[in-house]
Amino acid sequence: MQNINFNFPAPVVDSSVEALRLEVRGFLADERRKGTFQPGPDCWCAGIDTEFTRKLGQKGWIGVTWPKEYGGRELTALHRYVITEELLVAGAPVHAHWIADRQSGPLILQSGTQAMKEGILPRIAAGTCYFALGLSEPGAGSDLAAVKTRAVPTEGGWRITGTKLWSSGAQVCEYMTVLARTSKVDEKHRHAGLTQFLVRLDAPGVTVRGIRDMSGVEHFNETNFDNVFVPEDAVLGAVGDGWKQITGELAMERSGPERFLSTFVALERAFSRMAAARENTHQQAVLGRLAARIRALRSMSLGVATLLQNGESPDVEAAIVKDIGTRFEQEIIEKLREFWPIMMAQGQGDELQHLLSESLLRQPSFTLRGGTNEILKGIIARGLGLR
């Protein structure tokens, strides 16, 4: 009988990790007092504040795991984890650098040219250079291999033509990593012939158009590439490596704390209200259950981070974190409705109401972005040997 057991090893915590946590927490409390930012839900996607990101860069909290020669601090993945979770629970506006810190920087470290590493990574770490992801297209969502954007070789480089959709934050970004087809579709190997390019968003032929989401925020974009020239060395890694690169990042992308803490700011306020109110055992049970699940999800997420650090490939475990975690972010809001009904936009001046209404309007995206939960369940099922 085939046995499938998931185990989640303990992260190795030293005192520097907790010292860093307290430093970040103290900084965020100060900034809150100064009124630098208003806490918001889904802050890693909806909260864009380049000034705030620059401050984080000055503190040395972006790209912390990267080599020192490229602006990093050579800290562990757990140090980065602690920084990101403290930023998320504070509801701080961190989207500007989020993608570059989590994904594009590591991609450049692994597959970029020396010039990219020297020219771009220190600026990401300083909080001044931002990235958007160019993956989805009008005709390619869950079926990412269906991308139609083409890159055609030309003298000294490539010409890119196509449209990318739903790229968060592209309006403030200097670069987009663009997934494009570099050879014809082979129906038997649909994932072959895809290449990632580093494209400057101010290049001639690029137009970025903001798209307003149902919550009223204009954070994602349609980006059009009309015969855009990129030099030879804009290719990330080798031609044809695009799919391998994208799937290689997934465990990291899917298992982080942003996959279960997007609505935690609302739950934190709810706990404050409950602490201040007369004892209500039913409410304690409902909120206590949410806290229990967060603790468990966090253990699982930290376990995946530890597996990654140990050089393993916990793709199935990461998909589980994201599947359960994102549904849970939505569930928090549904459970809190019982005690704090959500009707009014902006919450009419009440902070908890504001966080709840913003969370509710944003939550449909949680189970879609970065791979829908249906795609995730397919990955889990494959890992279990069912397909």
Partner: protein, 357 residues
């Protein structure tokens, strides 16, 4: 895990595989106590994992014992290994540890029995496998002090009940029973921790049984054909099995984290209980979801007594209620966090959650 720990786990694994087949589990329910299995566990010293070395035991960590218990639940072990471990652990808290006898424990959930003038007063319900051991460890109160009393089972009046899984649970009447020995617990030990560890043991059993349910379900949907193909080829089934595996994995993460927390030397009681509350809550909730989906995937076969799924689903349904259901621990956790939030200026729910690694 240390090498010596792995050796113990491997030994247990061999005994479970050799002596705890599905038939043995069903026969146990029909009154044929699996003596061979029980003797094998005893002879291998596995009941003594939480007896200190100086008292003739293994001196294993909390983590080792809990791993062993989780593994035993993957076989629906129908003998009181978990109870024996907890009983010896309780005795050790009062300096009474020894390796002499097989024991269970009678832990009251609310009012503890009283020990006065050398006699116990009280009734404890839901005592697992009391008739299958020779002694019971009874946490009780003597002159306002938490005390461990060791009693001979023969001296107690037992009324037999059966758990949902057909396992014995007894009502133990301790009125007038004179303990074989008793001693006050070491300072720093509390009844809350005793109840917490009992809950954590059940959470580990749930996690282990769910791992087996995941495996049974995966195998079944691959073997069973309908509409000309294996059930596993249907996307609806794939997603359902993915949900089962996910809930099982989440419970694993929670019980493993709690095991680490209680294993830390000088772990604060509140940190231990918050980790335990998380483990029992998440495992208890997962038990409901996992069994529902697993039975759905198995169709009528899973509902039959002959097929092994029922041995696991009936056990997790029982274990999730014992020593505090998820509803009990949810409320406890919510109240604790609210108190911590209210206790200090700038106190936050997050600060209490982020203490756990």
């Amino acid at each position: 895990m240390e090498q010596s720990d792995q050796l113990i786990i491997d030994t247990a694994q061999r005994i479970f595989a050799d002596h705890c087949s599905a038939d043995v589990v069903n026969s146990a329910e029909n009154g044929h106590y699996p003596e061979t299995l029980w003797q094998a566990l005893k002879e291998a010293g596995l009941l003594l994992v939480w007896v200190p070395e100086e008292s003739g035991g293994v001196g294993g960590s909390m983590g080792l014992g809990l791993s062993l218990i989780r593994q035993s639940a993957r076989y629906a072990l129908p003998v009181p290994l978990a109870e024996a471990l907890v009983a010896n652990w309780l005795l050790a808290q009062a300096g009474l540890a020894n390796a002499d006898q097989t024991r269970g424990f009678a832990l009251a959930l609310e009012t503890l029995p009283r020990l006065e003038n050398g006699q116990l007063h009280g009734v404890v319900e839901g005592v697992a496998f009391a008739a299958q051991v020779s002694q019971l460890v009874v946490p009780c109160m003597q002159a306002g002090q938490l005390t461990m009393a060791l009693v001979a089972v023969d001296a107690c009046e037992l009324s037999l009940q059966q758990s949902l899984a057909g396992e014995p649970r007894h009502i133990v009447n301790l009125n007038g029973v004179q303990p074989l020995t008793s001693a006050a617990v070491d300072s720093g030990f509390s009844i809350e921790l005793a109840r917490g560890v009992a809950a954590l043991v059940r959470a580990h059993q749930i996690a282990g049984a769910m791992e087996r349910i995941v495996t049974l379900t995966i195998n079944y949907v691959q073997e069973r054909n309908q509409f000309g193909r294996a059930l596993s080829r249907f996307q609806a089934i794939q997603h359902s099995v993915a949900d089962i595996a996910g809930e099982s994995a989440l419970a694993n993460a929670a019980v493993e984290q709690a095991a680490r927390t209680v294993s830390q030397p000088h772990c604060a009681l509140n940190d231990a209980l918050m980790a335990i509350a998380t483990a029992k809550s998440v495992a208890g909730e997962a038990a409901g979801k996992v069994t529902q989906l697993a039975h759905q995937a198995h169709g009528a076969m899973g509902f039959s007594h002959e097929y092994t799924l029922q041995q696991y689903s009936r056990r997790v349904w029982c274990w999730r209620e014992e020593f505090g259901s998820e509803f009990y621990w949810n409320q406890w956790l919510g109240q604790q966090i609210a108190e911590q939030v209210g206790a200090s200026d700038g106190g936050s729910a997050w600060a209490s959650i982020a203490r756990a690694f």
